[in-house]
């Protein structure tokens, strides 16, 4: 029987290279290999060929004669480890593999009824049977030949990288080598693209619904506006339904349309009241006045989530004018905005400042914003605002020097024009002179 009878042939190219299966990768080459079916002498041996271990097969190619056959790795049942004995040291290494075959000993890719043992004899002097055995086992384990049907035919001109990435099993196409990586990426993009498209379909649906909603809201808005304009004396019922409509619109996230006429959007109304309640305690603690920026921080921190924006805060404060709320928003000339408790009046603060400014030390040295802050129990920045305010009322005057910015009680009123040496017996001028002269002059 010819060798071709028991081993399936390998297609060769014109140059003698084997035609590999799709996804098949060459892993190891060993030359001068004999293949023998030792137990079955009717199967002629194959002498002196190049053995190529691929991911799918064991190829045996005789380049001269162009005989080429293969053993499908899928048919390999077992591979026996190379024997180590004294005898084996002097002979060519052999590796035996058990391969399924049909009853004639013919090895096919399909299922066989029995098996034969094939001996791989390495006649080449430098062959490392251990390495080969190890590699063989690796390849056998990875079972790269078990591929599902490919989507399409792979192109033949792929880069084969022998001895590189392990083939993985259960993969639709070969994913070894750079091409494999590229293909994997391509697939990923395609699937992402598809899911994005699906998502956008949903989004488009959502958006068209939203458009309808907005159109509806617009209609309602128009109705509300025209309704309120036409009927100046709306009775309670109408007002009630209008209010409901406003609430509903607001809950949908649309600001009330009748903002100018009503007290403002419901959201801001509620916020405004909540803010007024919240601000009571901090106001007390800080002497009746807090900078708006501080309120913003405190309030948001207290809320935890559902933070309000600076605009919301401003609007909420602006609404206080309309309610009986014990707090008010106030803007100083310098632009600083504060929340002030109504109970706290400017006059009261001025009185405290003046009494502070008339103490002997203050008469002599004046007061700085930090001095005032300490006495009044408020932040220095706010204290400065108060001092500037008192100055604008003519109660204090400033002293600017390299030492800093200080305020004195306003004594210009005490000085007489046309009589610059005059000092009245009682009064501030006199007190100041005594206080000032207490220091070594």
């Amino acid at each position: 029987m010819a060798a071709s009878a028991w081993l399936p042939p390998v297609d060769l190219t014109d140059s003698g290279r084997p035609v590999l299966f799709p996804g098949e990768v060459e892993r190891l080459f060993i030359s001068s290999i004999d293949l023998q079916a030792e137990e079955n002498p009717s199967l002629p041996p194959l002498r002196s060929g190049l053995l190529t271990l691929t991911s799918h097969r064991l190829l045996w190619i005789n380049e001269t004669s162009r005989f080429a056959h293969f053993i499908p790795l899928g048919s390999v049942i077992h591979a026996f480890p190379p024997k180590k004995s004294i005898k084996s040291m002097f002979t060519s290494p052999k590796i035996r593999i058990q391969v399924t075959s049909d009853s004639d000993g013919k090895i096919t890719s399909g299922k066989g009824t029995t098996s034969v043992v094939i001996t791989i004899v390495m006649r080449g002097g430098k062959s490392d049977s251990e390495a080969f055995y190890g590699k063989l086992w690796e390849v056998l384990k990875s079972r790269s030949w078990e591929v599902e049907e490919v989507k399409g035919r792979e192109d033949v001109g792929e880069i084969r990288d022998s001895g590189s990435v392990e083939g993985t099993s259960r993969v639709r196409t070969a994913v070894v080598g750079v091409a494999g990586i590229l293909r994997k990426e391509q697939e990923m993009w395609e699937s992402t693209d598809k899911s994005l498209q699906d998502a956008f379909q949903d989004l488009n649906a959502l958006m068209s619904k939203a458009k309808e909603m907005v159109a509806l809201a617009e209609k309602m808005r128009q109705k509300l506006l025209s309704g309120s304009a036409a009927q100046a004396n709306a009775n309670d019922e109408e007002m009630g339904s209008k209010q409901e409509m406003q609430d509903w619109l607001l809950s949908v996230g649309i600001v009330s349309p009748v903002t100018k006429e009503s007290a403002g959007a419901l959201y801001h109304q509620q916020l405004s009241r909540q803010l007024a309640d919240f601000v009571k305690l901090p106001l007390e603690k800080s002497g009746g006045m807090i900078a708006l920026i501080d309120v913003y921080c405190l309030f948001n921190r207290a809320r935890g989530t559902e933070l309000i924006s600076p605009e919301d805060l401003l609007q909420a404060c602006a609404l206080w004018e309309k309610y009986e709320v014990p707090a008010m928003l106030r803007k100083f000339d310098s632009g600083v905005m504060v929340i002030q408790s109504k109970a706290h009046s400017d006059e009261e603060v001025f009185a405290r400042i003046i009494s502070l400014a008339q103490k002997p030390d203050a008469l002599k040295m004046g007061i700085s914003p930090s001095d005032a802050a300490l006495t009044l129990g408020i932040a220095p920045a706010l204290a400065k605002e108060h001092l500037l305010n008192a100055e604008s009322r003519g109660l204090l005057c400033r002293d600017v020097s390299p030492d800093g910015f200080r305020f004195y009680v306003n004594m210009f009123k005490e000085f007489e024009l046309g009589n610059i040496y005059l000092v009245k017996d009682h009064g501030l001028y006199k007190a100041w002179i005594s206080a000032a002269s207490l220091s070594s002059a």
Partner: protein, 179 residues
């Protein structure tokens, strides 16, 4: 009581805000008035006619409270005097200011009185005599700024009360009064 030279300073000279230009209008008005008065009084007593803005002028600082007027403040106060006709800027850049603690017209009147009181109606005097002559001692005329004096005399000349003529030497003019 503090003094600058032999000039008695008012108590408010030690009030630190006095040396800071006040921003509030009403307070500033008062401050300006006070400074105007003080400057005139001081210059009169010390016979100071010219104040240089960038130069040392002891009235503009108070060592004991470590305060002095800023350049801006000085200009503000002096400009206030100029607006009132009690001072004149001698240059466009406002570096020097002529203090007329007596206006030129006032000087003219003063000179007339001086001439009368000293019986100098018919005599001829040089300008320098008027400034530093024996008769002038103890009067305001002693040490008067030459330019101011000449202006006053010219004013009198316009009114026909005096006649100015060139003297024998090139630098001194003579005046004959005709009251």
């Amino acid at each position: 009581m503090q003094k600058l030279g032999d000039f008695k300073l008012p108590q408010f000279f030690n009030y630190p805000p006095y040396f800071t230009l006040q921003p509030i209008r009403e307070t500033r008005e008062k401050q300006i008035q006070l400074w105007k008065e003080l400057i005139l009084e001081y210059c009169r007593s010390q016979k100071i006619f010219i104040v240089g803005l960038d130069e040392e002028f002891s009235l503009f600082s108070n060592q004991s409270i470590e305060r002095s007027l800023s350049h801006e403040s000085r200009e503000v106060f002096l400009s206030a005097l100029v607006s009132e006709g009690r001072a004149e800027w001698m240059d466009k850049s406002h570096k020097k200011c002529l203090i007329l603690w007596l206006k030129v017209q006032d000087w003219a009147d003063y000179i007339i009185n001086f001439v009368r009181e000293n019986g100098l109606e018919d005599s001829v005097m040089t300008v320098e005599d008027i400034r530093s002559g024996i008769e002038s001692r103890g009067t305001e005329l002693a040490g008067i700024d030459r330019g101011v004096l000449i202006r006053a005399l010219k004013l009198l000349e316009q009114k026909g009360k005096a006649a100015i003529f060139k003297g024998s030497s090139t630098d001194d003019e003579g005046v004959k009064f005709n009251i």
